[in-house]
Amino acid sequence: MADAFALELSNISKRFGTHWALAHLNYGLPPARSLLLTGHNGSGKTTLLRLLATAIQPTLGQLQVLGFSAKRETSLIRQHTALLSHASYHYEDLSAEQNLKLLARLLGKPSAQLPLLLERVGLSSRKQSPVRQFSAGMRKRLAIARLLLKAPRLALLDEPFGELDPSGIVDMENLIRELKAQGTTLILATHLVEQGLSLTESRLHLNQGRIEEAS
């Protein structure tokens, strides 16, 4: 039987030291839907995405991602989830190709598809260069290649348009549409609300770690 929710948050709270970054979140997102996360700086968007990726664990509450418990089945969630975050996750001294090869090895995927991926994100000509020599936009493009290599069931995109040039932004919009067409559940956190709304079906607005509006 298909899961009723791709995400299910029950009274989720997250505390860092004495500061509650998220407080008592309750929300459910059906599979293959796309959600826009909005809110001011410090509203808890990134923390929520990191919780969903199981990079961190909630302080309180129950979290189910793709039907798996975030506490007991983290490995299963990680297999099917990809996070495009502020941190690029690249090794600076390895080349773009070596970084992707490492991920392909860990995922058990053939490296034959890597040239195509690098071509797609526009890094073919720089595939042998160490990431240390890359601009912020090129690092973002490599992070997108990582996401595509993983082919996740749940894609978590934290400010995906940041650092990209105009052609990169168009490519990212096309990628989001493509992921949606493939049935990927998608969560997009951005300050570009109009752009985000045109790409997603639902919206969650956070304010000081609480849900202010869900539509």
């Binding site: 690249h90 490492l102 058990g108």
Partner: protein
Amino acid sequence: MKTGFLHNMWAVLLKDFQIEWKTKARLNALLFFSIATLLMFSFAVGPNVESKAAHAAAYIWLSLLFASVLSLGESFRIESENHALEGLRLAPTSLKAFFLGKTIANTLLLWLLSLLIVPLTFALYNVELQGSWVLLVLVLLGGAAAIAAPGTFYAAIALGARSKDILLPLLMFPVLVPALVACVKATTLVVEADPMQQLSSWLALLTAFCLVYWVLGTLLFPHVVEGD
């Protein structure tokens, strides 16, 4: 393609070698640091040739121990840059496999360093090897493994701390005392061709130390890294 435990371990090991091969920064820095340390010991002890030769093994292992602090810190600096370790964690990668891959890489680097500095020390301190070179190479490998396992574990703990450069030796040095003593004694006995047949007991201590810390490190490492 499979993504088993050994596959993950190999991927981490290969990645560390690729980075080292590309930059060669760590091995070069460690080699010059170790040579500088050995020279400082030599100057501090003075011109007494007998005293120098008698304590050569201690100088070798102290020099390797100090170099290991730099090496282990650097091995986790590359993991903290761009939150690369988090990227591997979310890939997902078995953290036990990661620990073993990283520890093997650190062991091999320290071993290689020891193979470079031991002949130099023997020349500098007028040491004549009376025992077997093969046995000496094995003792060096055992010592490198004994430093690398707790070192890799504590480097991961220190990674999240503000004063990680201070914390790592503070955590690591007390734990390594038995291994250090065993390494110095075993090396001295190999150099002197083990006249009283004492070598086996020191090798047993070194083996037991390695077993305990490689097993403990593998089991505890995921808890250190996953704790938030």
